[in-house]
Symmetry: D3
Subunit: 291 residues, 6 copies
């Protein structure tokens, strides 16, 4: 009786379009390995917090050396998996040049780690300064979901700039699952960025965010609508998400939609729906509730 | 000193009502096993994506065979655990007939897998077509939280239709934890269903959703209030959640409450609270924010 | 080439402020161990549900004994890790008195477990009575994210009352990640507390919540703004979150900000932004949407 | 090409006689579970050494309680697996009475644990007194392979006396693999038994060993030859291994074969082959080597 | 202070000759993976015993299919690792042709599995018939160390015939550690081969063993001495171990050395040292011990 | 009914002498951690073979740095556990000075690692030169049980020279279990030492072995008898095992007993029992077997 279900499920008509055909020897994108990659990257960026290994200033060099080398190897494999993924079993992914391309991209990513650390240090500072409940940088790095989500985004964004397919999106979705914060890897985000609490935040692919911006939980930077092509499919790649200039604050559950601009120093109140530009310095709020 | 706490905590007065009494040999509902069950089901439904095993069209039959058999065994055990659970240690759960009932229900579920795959294929297509940022069906299957949440819901809904207790709810709560999308297993949902981003979505137990419906993050399909019985307890089983007809779109953070109907092709704007019917084709939005 | 990145990342200028210097032998706060601690605490508080071990009324005493002792040992270590954490490698954490202090705090926590069980029993009852879809206390304890989040909060709150640093916040953030419900460990919450669905709920550090309060998903109890000191940093410790008196209900996605009071028996409708007191018994709702 | 091998290997002619047909729901003898059972038994018999859990005289009762209950459950399952094993898929193993029989046997075994502890205490004492290099009872219990092998033998022997099939042999083979000491579970061995070093020791199924006997590494208590039945198969169950009376010492690599008796207080020298009775008190040695 | 040891240990003079230089991307021989390979091979050869998965005659085809495919993939990688190993970081191991060679060798091995199963069936039968204590084929397959050691040898021998370097030796050493039976993969061994108890058995690389041969524990088939080349190094590859013709029995702890022949049907007694031919049918024993 | 066994087993009379009383916070000797320690030591001593991590001459410094630091931390803990072990819950093991003593001993051990590597290099060379079947140093390091047993012995011997209790014996027993070679950590063994095959070898605590010595499987260097004190207990610490001078070869299963000397260049044949001095250069063998 199970045999009948097995036969139906094994018929090629039944799975076409849903099947990822795999070539022998080809690496697979692996959630487990990508988790390990993120853990390694966090251990390198914030020494002494993640990875649970004891570490001090005399031995930090050894630990970073091993972590960077391991990261390089795992990332090369996953980048290659990403390059293979699109081709659905019909590519030259196992050739030497493809492997060398993957290694070159992994090395390029690693050379950006010192820059990423400098950038994330500004985010930690912004989170600490923006929260009266924060007691130390250490607590922020250890506990704040915003730091987890922004770390993954900044890592994924670097990989996306290197044209690595698929992997960046998996990395931001891992943070989405962990924190409820959904930042598309293609979004552009300045320094000193912070998100308070964070659950429910959505930042779309073509969003542009300046420096010193703060979002609260439940904020959406989304698309209002998107033009369709002649087949009725959405046209890909058109700028369709908001621009937030420097020092903007958006309160909880506000929804900002479309390629509009929230000007410098503007404030958007909670629980409102914004679809038009907000001039610099302006503060908009919800109409009063009825009792 | 610890002994005092142990004694207090072991006193039967102290735990009555909170204690699940367990009979020797009875299987327990197990989050770990249910995770394994979901991983197997996803591996069967979307061959080559989950489960990390290499797989190609020559060997897919072997993999599906083993996965289906393993799924059958684990599910039989968990269904039996669900059947036992309610009885709190005082049932005939370990008898041969109960075990056979569990096996029969597991087999009935498995015979629905080809149907579930066809249905989920429509959801994947809807997610792909509805998101300009989506680059391939593969990316949607791998990364999109909506696909995870809807898969778990569709699996749980089949089990609930077979009157399996407890297990369906645990399965949808697993997806709730993973994705922030909370779909009650008793909700009825048509084909080509998609949810964008998804965190914070709530779909109540008596909701009815047509085909080609799209929800955004933070949308609630909830109950407005519920009648109490003479003891002041809510009466169970009364239809109390909305009906969304075909092609409805609900934007982010909208809250739709009560047994109302959102008519065919209607659109509900973001961040609003809807407690009355919306006629077919109509678009409702939030009043303008004040600057 | 990797060597260059390793050297840059190992330079002390590059990581100062982001580095947790660790002294040999000092315990580390460990997410893995804290997960184990929460699993043990849940197994003690709700016997027979968590921990997967078979258990019945004859052997419950053995199980609680072993679980309490293991909890005591692990918690002593993590409390010590919390005490050490702040000192950044320059403290007397490894001395006998510090270890005895940690053990004393862990024992004090354990002596509160019977009280915590009584309190959580009221929360389970509230969740069951408040949800027509709930089928048994067992289902509520097993599946409801609110019970997970409130358990972690109540555990963390007891540790915070004992002045344990860092650990309480990690514990509530673990529940935040698992459920999307973010309750600060310093909030004060009465009995019979429940949260429906829960994703996106935020309860700030100085919030005060009475008995029999119910929140829905996406509700924020936040700060409106906070006074800065002369350096422009937020002043810590000022009451800045709402007070909810007994029997208050707050519907989904409502945002209540600032040190205001929502009076006894009041109801706050969904998707609104409340920044002023709401008198006892009053019901406030969103203005009507435009069609 | 692999398909051809799969087909050949799946043909029923190819595996008949080598195939263990398994009925759904039937427990399987599991090396992993039996290892766990041995670890539990060792933790109960030698409190504080095995199992790595902290334990002291106030809490020993809780630990033994949990360990005994867990042992009972796992052992019941493995005894049932042993009862099922012989029937090769065609038995009544899953019925209630079979399960009750397994539980009854497990309980009978557990009631012998205090006796086993008393007996093993004599073996520990013998090992300590017999080895000038031994520094404490603790070192003997922790490190000496003889204690591991004799513990497994004594456990297996009790199970064999209860007519549990297969499981006793797997348990002694586990010790054989760990220590190189091969004691058949059916052998009868008195108190204060010890084996020095132990690798290569073989004690056959019908051996009878008195009290205060000591063997060195490489000693064989074997069968000389065994009568065949009319089909040329060995006749099972005939006494064919040696009897060693009280206080016998056998030095390394000696081989004692057949149903002979080594009398009280006798000594057998190393590297010799003994096939005839040795009278009480006699010492036999190898002829001198030639230079 | 640790730094000094690290520096000394990292100096290239200090580790030359002991260092395995590794090229990026090159697979490594892995004990863990080889254990998995052996488990898979045993699961294929003896269906239903190893691997713990439930299996019956309807589903055996699926299980064997998945196991064979997984075995093929893991073995290809380990064969490639073996091919790379010798070259110490200076080879063409990562090129497409090397990978194809490894895959071709793995496939050739897999095509021999049906032959290996037939051969091992004779060994199981020999073990069962030769031991009055054996109760079923099942017990022999499950428990007897001889079957484990002979399985590993027969697998390793096939790989060695395919000129796979290093891997065969690791596989037989795994069995050596597990059982104390050390069979060199290059030895040639006929059908119906069995070893009783087995600890301490050594079978050298150029040994030739006929059909229906039985060895007891501690038997050595070794080299007497070996000619040295002009540098005083042993000359490799010269026949230097014994030939045992059909039906030979060798009792425990006998040592047979050099390229001698033990003729058909001969018997060698225990604890003796044999360095000259033994004619067919003859029985040799140890001189009597002195009392 | 289980309760009765639990009560008997928890009675203090029943476990006295077999109980290891444990003080809170005290580290325990842990087989798992000691396995990790041995794996780390092997990875440091033979870079690139063990530990499975990729490693090359540019990054070897990082790997050795991390491995040495981790080894130091784990070893400090286990040495402390060894120091505590003897005191059975009544010591000052948790004080700062005890911890510092443990750290000092661990550091002293680590400073000997370069010396250990030089010594083990001679053993590898001896194994390679002594076995015509050996194909490379790499094969010897990877596969030969002798190298595993001698590595553990040399590590344990250094710890024993530092007066670390218990831990050295556990380390050599781990190799005994893995290889069947039982070398007491107190034995003194020169350079270029090798053991062929090895199963069954026993080297007693007061043995002294020169340079370039080779043993075969089953060889015992044991005590003949040992003087008892007035209570009939063996007197500890008396030299009672053989001295083997340089270049001695002992063939398989030979037993050499008592404080005798096997002179330089002597050869001892297989399967014999030696209890008297053997002069330098002499070769002794077994008397001929009878046909």
């Amino acid at each position: 009786m199970l045999t009948k279900a097995v036969d139906e499920l094994s018929e090629s008509q039944s799975y076409k379009g849903l099947f990822h055909q795999h070539r022998d020897g080809e690496p697979l994108p692996s959630a487990r390995v990508l988790h390990e990659i993120i853990d390694l990257a966090r251990a390198i960026l914030f020494p002494g917090y993640y990875g649970n290994s004891t570490i001090n200033s005399h031995t930090i060099n050894y630990h970073i050396g091993v972590n960077v080398e391991t990261l390089f190897n795992l990332l090369t494999e996953q980048i290659l998996a990403g390059l293979c993924f699109g081709s659905n079993g019909d590519c030259d992914c196992l050739t030497e040049p493809k492997r060398e391309e993957a290694a070159r991209l992994a090395a390029a990513f690693i050379s950006q780690l010192p820059y990423l650390r400098r950038l994330l240090a500004t985010d930690v500072e912004a989170a600490y300064n923006g929260d009266p409940a924060a007691e130390s940088f250490g607590e922020v790095i250890c506990c704040y979901p915003a730091i987890k989500a922004i770390s993954n985004y900044r890592i994924a964004h670097e990989l996306l700039k290197l044209n690595v397919p698929l992997i960046p999106r998996i990395i931001t979705e891992m943070a989405h699952s962990e924190t409820g914060i959904d930042i598309h890897p293609a979004a552009q985000i300045g320094s000193y960025f912070t998100i308070d609490h964070g659950t429910g935040v959505v930042i779309g692919a073509t969003s542009i965010i300046g420096d010193h911006v703060k979002l609260y939980q439940g904020v959406t930077l989304g698309a209002k609508s998107f033009p369709l092509d002649e087949e009725g499919k959405p046209i890909k790649g058109i700028p369709r998400h908001p621009i937030l200039e420097d020092n903007v604050i958006v309160y909880s559950n506000a929804t900002i939609l479309g390629r509009i601009t929230i000007g410098k120093d503007a404030t958007v109140g909670g629980n409102i729906w914004v679809t038009e530009n907000v001039p610099a310095g302006v503060r908009i709020v919800q109409p009063k509730a009825k009792k």
